[in-house]
């Protein structure tokens, strides 16, 4: 690596030294209380996969360029120069971390490893060694945002087909208007994903509840966040924000996708509308009597996996539990759960990378949790988690079925 590149990366690093980052870089005493709180470390017990191990990779570079001790006596804190080796270490540390932030709950200083990894991701982007898959996916989302008019007609055609499926679920013949789009004055803008089920099931619920809603032209997933590019993340999020503003909606409802929920809800500052997860909306509709479910209609033992971005990082803990307790006769909690729940190992954009064996090994704590419940159905409320739970099921040969909460509700509508 040449000196110019090093200078460029150091300058890039400086731009990301915000207040929390400075705290997290300076505070750690390496007490090691976090070391085994990461599911990856549990599955693959290597120092590099412990939260402190990951953080140290970033911290050592920081010390080298931003601390007097790192400049004068690098060995004092194991300060490291930016070179190809340290960039490889950053790559391994960052894209083995799902950003679940379980370690943050256990850290006596509350250090956010995901935030530290955002520094690593920025450096990898600057070095042009960020995973190509994520770069392409983020760029494609940005491109769609720039030229949405070219996509609209094709997308409307797809949606017309999906309306037929919605009609089947509702038992009606008229399909027109079952999935409204560009509806000015709608109360809700719903943001789905690329998969048909992510639109059909919520559409059934909105229609049952007679909601005044509109479907977004964009998918909720934010590959800019997974990639760790703050500008792209903001641009991708703004696509929906601008659409919501143009339609004048009161609420943006995000499909079952933890990161897609967390970004507009907590990470991009105040917005002129409410942001909710589809889980919260389903819970609200049931509570208000707008939709009815067949109570205690599921006899098989059922458990719930808290998606990290929805639960620990989003605060949605009780709504899914209340819904599932209503539906199932034998609801069983995983141990630990809520803020202490183990990550499934599929977040942080890891699903988009070629790493299935790694994800299976690193999800051992989740496998153990599922097995311990003895449940036959594992429910979650995040597309990433559901896909990863399917990988765990196949990888460990578990005799369970994996369901999305919205799907389960639709199957059990009264």
């Amino acid at each position: 690596m040449d000196i110019e590149k090093r200078k460029q990366l150091t300058a890039l690093m400086k731009t990301r030294l915000n207040r929390p980052m400075r705290y997290y870089l300076d505070l750690c005493t390496r007490c090691g209380l976090c070391y085994d709180t990461c599911h990856v470390y549990q599955g693959i017990p290597k120092k590099e996969y412990s939260p402190v191990g990951r953080a140290e990779v970033v911290r050592r570079i920081y010390k080298k360029y931003f601390r007097p001790s790192g400049r004068l006596i690098p060995s004092w804190g194991d300060a490291k120069v930016i070179d190809d080796n340290s960039m490889n270490e950053l790559l391994e540390a960052t894209f083995s971390c799902t950003g679940c932030r379980r370690c943050m709950v256990h850290c006596p200083f509350g250090i956010d490893t995901q935030h530290l990894m955002s520094m690593a991701k920025v450096l990898l982007i600057g070095n042009e060694t960020a995973p190509e898959e994520l770069v392409m996916l983020a760029d494609s989302s940005v491109e769609k945002g720039k030229s949405i008019d070219e996509f609209k007609d094709g997308y409307r055609e797809v949606i017309r087909d999906l309306e037929k499926e919605v009609a089947k679920h509702l038992g009606v013949t008229e399909t027109d208007g079952l999935i409204p789009m560009e509806k000015k004055g709608a109360d809700i803008l719903f943001v789905g994903l690329a998969g048909a089920h992510s639109i059909v099931h919520p559409a059934v619920i909105f229609n049952k509840a007679k909601a005044n809603w509109s479907l977004s032209f964009f998918e909720a997933v934010n590959f800019g966040a997974f990639l760790g590019d703050p500008e792209k993340m903001q641009f991708i999020a703004n696509r929906v924000v601008n659409e919501a503003k143009a339609l004048g909606v009161k609420e943006v409802v995000i499909v079952e996708c933890g990161t897609a929920y967390r970004i507009p809800k907590f990470l991009i500052g105040p917005l002129p509308f409410k942001v909710s997860s589809i889980v919260e909306v389903i819970h609200r509709y049931i509570r208000e009597g707008k939709i009815k479910v067949k109570e205690k209609s599921i006899a098989d033992a059922l458990t719930y996996h808290d998606p990290c971005q929805l639960g620990r990082n989003g605060g949605v803990y009780e709504e899914p539990r209340e819904i599932l307790n209503m539906l199932a006769t034998d609801y069983r909690e995983m141990t630990p759960n809520r803020e202490f729940n183990w990550c499934c190992g599929g977040g942080g954009g890891l699903q988009a990378l070629d790493n299935e064996q790694f994800r299976i090994k690193s999800s051992k704590p989740k496998r153990d949790q599922i097995v311990a419940t003895g449940a036959k159905i594992v429910v979650s409320a995040c597309e990433n988690c559901i896909s990863q739970l399917d990988t765990i099921k196949a990888g460990y040969g578990l005799d369970v079925s994996v369901k999305s909460l919205t799907e389960l509700v639709v199957e059990n509508l009264a």
Partner: protein, 238 residues
């Protein structure tokens, strides 16, 4: 020559160390203050009903450490509680504080236990780092700081215990320390006769030397966690 070295340690170096400590912390605060804040929140849930109070509780009682490793938590709490008493004890070596004497006690407070607790807990922290996995995550700074603390505590503890219990003919009394330390604070610095004349002067000088190093390192090492802990905990709750 040794007299000059001792004097340097006991007077100019103390001022240098104290100035480094104060300016270093002020510098760190300035850096933090001019750093940009973030949009939104990176809190984890549940935030707690009163986030600031929860952050105070998390900072002082470290419930996450209690949940994870109870013996380690006991050691952490014992160390930090003893360290707090150590600071109070040193304030009383500068002058009398009626408010601290609400519970009447002999100076130095703790009857020697403060030093013993600090030594034992520091040894625990040090030896813990020799074990896997803590050995792998440790860097030289971790060992050096613990060694520095150990040396500071061992000499300080010796001074306190030997003076209180008349061990090894230790002849430096509290009044001598008070004369010396208060002279530093009134900017008329001198080392009291009792200290200068004592054959144990070297023990005092070594204690002050290591304490000076501690103060100089404090703002630029991981020890700064004691200053910024609440802020980080509040981010977790905000």
């Amino acid at each position: 020559m040794w007299d000059s070295i001792y004097f340097f340690i006991m007077v100019p170096m103390v001022y240098i160390a104290f100035a480094t400590l104060v300016i270093g912390i002020a510098f760190k605060f300035t850096i933090i203050f001019i750093s940009p804040t973030i949009k939104g929140t990176i809190a984890v849930f549940p935030k707690g009903s009163v986030p600031k109070l929860c952050a105070v509780r998390d900072s002082f009682f470290m419930p996450s450490a209690f949940m994870k490793d109870k013996p380690f938590w006991v050691v952490i709490i014992a160390f930090h509680a003893a360290f707090l008493l150590l600071i109070i004890g040193h304030l009383e070596l500068i002058r009398e504080f009626a408010v601290i004497q609400v519970i009447p006690h002999e100076v130095f407070l703790g009857a020697g236990w403060v030093g013993i607790v600090l030594i034992v807990t520091t040894i625990y922290f040090l030896f813990r780092r020799f074990k896997t996995p803590w050995r792998e995550i440790s860097v030289p700074e971790d060992f050096i700081i613990l060694l520095l603390l150990f040396l500071t505590f061992i000499f300080g503890s010796h001074m306190s215990l030997a003076s209180r219990y008349g061990i090894a003919g230790f002849d430096i009394q509290v009044s001598e320390y008070r004369e010396y330390l208060s002279s530093l604070f009134t900017t008329s610095p001198h080392v009291s006769r009792g200290i200068l004349a004592s054959p144990h002067y070297v023990i005092v000088a070594l204690h002050v030397f290591f304490a000076n190093l501690f103060m100089m390192m404090f703002p630029f090492s991981k020890m700064i966690h004691s200053v910024f802990m609440f802020a980080a905990q509040f981010i977790k709750r905000k």
